[in-house]
């Protein structure tokens, strides 16, 4: 008897045994062994208690409030034929003919679902485009700050050249903001008062992306448009938790 008790103490109950015991589903023979072991094993008692408390906590979770009723529209119809030929029919009404389906209901349901999917894709696209626009806007805004940073920190000739590379390549005509020197490097010129396009028409500085003002303007514009796009395309949350 002492040896038997010693074996019981060494061989603790598994979590599955304890969990099943908790639910009163343990077979009678296992139950006797478990009860005998639990009477002497503090470790298993603690384990059982922790599982009991976990179960109690889960059981005490309140039911979430229904956001709405889920009754189906009266026009809802069942499928015309079972999905598989082997699907069993109801045993209660084996001979009753199946009510024929009216397809408009399916059309309504499918149309509604397609509309939902379209709306989902539109919102996703809007979010993506908005994010990209906001990022490009931010880059433009930051790039417009580079000259200020350079001036403040005694910017190097290299960085000054970088900031004017685009205008130098685009506007090699006389009167442009940048002109290459004999060594092939670029030199920053003062901001033009009337930048011109290749066709000779004048653009106000605010619309010319090669100017500081223009970059700032386009940066702010894209950033704002991007944020608006994100706001419009954000995910809808029809209900909240309990």
């Amino acid at each position: 008897m002492t040896e038997h008790n010693g074996q019981q103490e060494k061989q603790h109950l598994t979590t599955t045994q304890l969990s099943t015991l908790l639910d009163g589903q343990l077979p009678i023979e296992e139950r006797e062994f478990s009860d005998a072991h639990l009477a002497t094993c503090e470790q298993c008692q603690l384990e059982l208690e922790s599982l009991r408390q976990t179960k109690m906590l889960l059981h005490a979770l309140p039911r979430p409030a229904l956001p709405r009723s889920f009754v189906l529209p009266i026009s809802t119809r069942q499928a015309e034929t079972p999905a598989t030929p082997l699907a069993p029919l109801a045993s209660i009404t084996p001979i009753t003919p199946i009510t024929p389906i009216t397809t408009p209901t399916y059309h309504n349901r499918n149309t509604s679902r397609r509309a939902d999917m379209r709306s989902y894709y539109t919102r996703t696209a809007l979010r993506t485009v908005g994010t990209l626009a906001a990022m490009v806007g931010l880059v433009l805004l930051l790039s417009s700050l580079i000259p200020f940073v350079n001036n403040k920190g005694g910017g190097t000739a290299q960085s000054g050249g970088n900031s004017t590379t685009l205008p130098a390549t685009r506007q090699a005509t006389p009167g442009g903001p940048v002109a290459p020197n004999l060594r092939g490097t670029t030199v920053t010129q003062p901001q033009p008062t009337h930048p011109s396009t290749s066709s000779g028409t004048f653009l106000p500085p605010v619309l010319d992306i090669s100017t500081l003002v223009g970059r700032t303007f386009y940066g702010i514009l894209l950033f704002v448009l991007g944020i608006i796009g994100l706001m419009i395309g954000r995910r809808r949350e029809p209900h909240r938790g309990p």
Binding site: S19, T20, S50, L58, H59, A60, A79, A90
Partner: protein, 216 residues
Amino acid sequence: MGNTGDFDRLTHDDEERLIARSQRGDVEAFNQLVLHYQQAVYSVVFRMLGNHDTVADVTQDAFLAAFKGIRSYRGGTSFRAWLLRVASNMACDQWRRTQRRPAESLDALIEDDEPHAPALLNALILTGVEGNPEEMLLSQELQELLQQGLETLPLEQRVAVVLCDIEGLSYEEIAETTETTPGTVRSRISRGRRRMRDYLNAHRELLPRNYRLHRE
């Protein structure tokens, strides 16, 4: 809760009649069943998916699918289990689609047969109401912690734990719902509970002071 109202007292015969009428395409009869079971179905989907904006959509789709497939329901088995099977399957499909935490599938592969865990959860329960789950009131913080814990469980364990510990289904009903054996159900529940217990123990520092373990 109020939505179920008078439908709480749906007798077995009434249910049989409503099912038979639903199988003949009677939507109004099926809607009586919806009113009776919508709270349970919504609750299961909610606990499966968490506070997510698709819970209502999945619940609605589950009822629609149940109506369209109700002819495949055979009398003599639990209609509630059949309905919850439809709902939990759709919730699982939705969860897999979202793939919010793909790393969990690896965790699910880890077999876990050690007999014991180190700590207890004694003080997760409000003082004064211990031993009486009906009167237990959980703080919002604890509710959220429990929900997060549920969402860390592998899907099969989550279904089993939700159906057993939250919805109160028997092992047999859960086996019907999940189309498995009672032995599998027993294993999934125990592993799920153990994971939940470990999760709560690992996060007890996030709980209010009066929830902490008092054997520290």
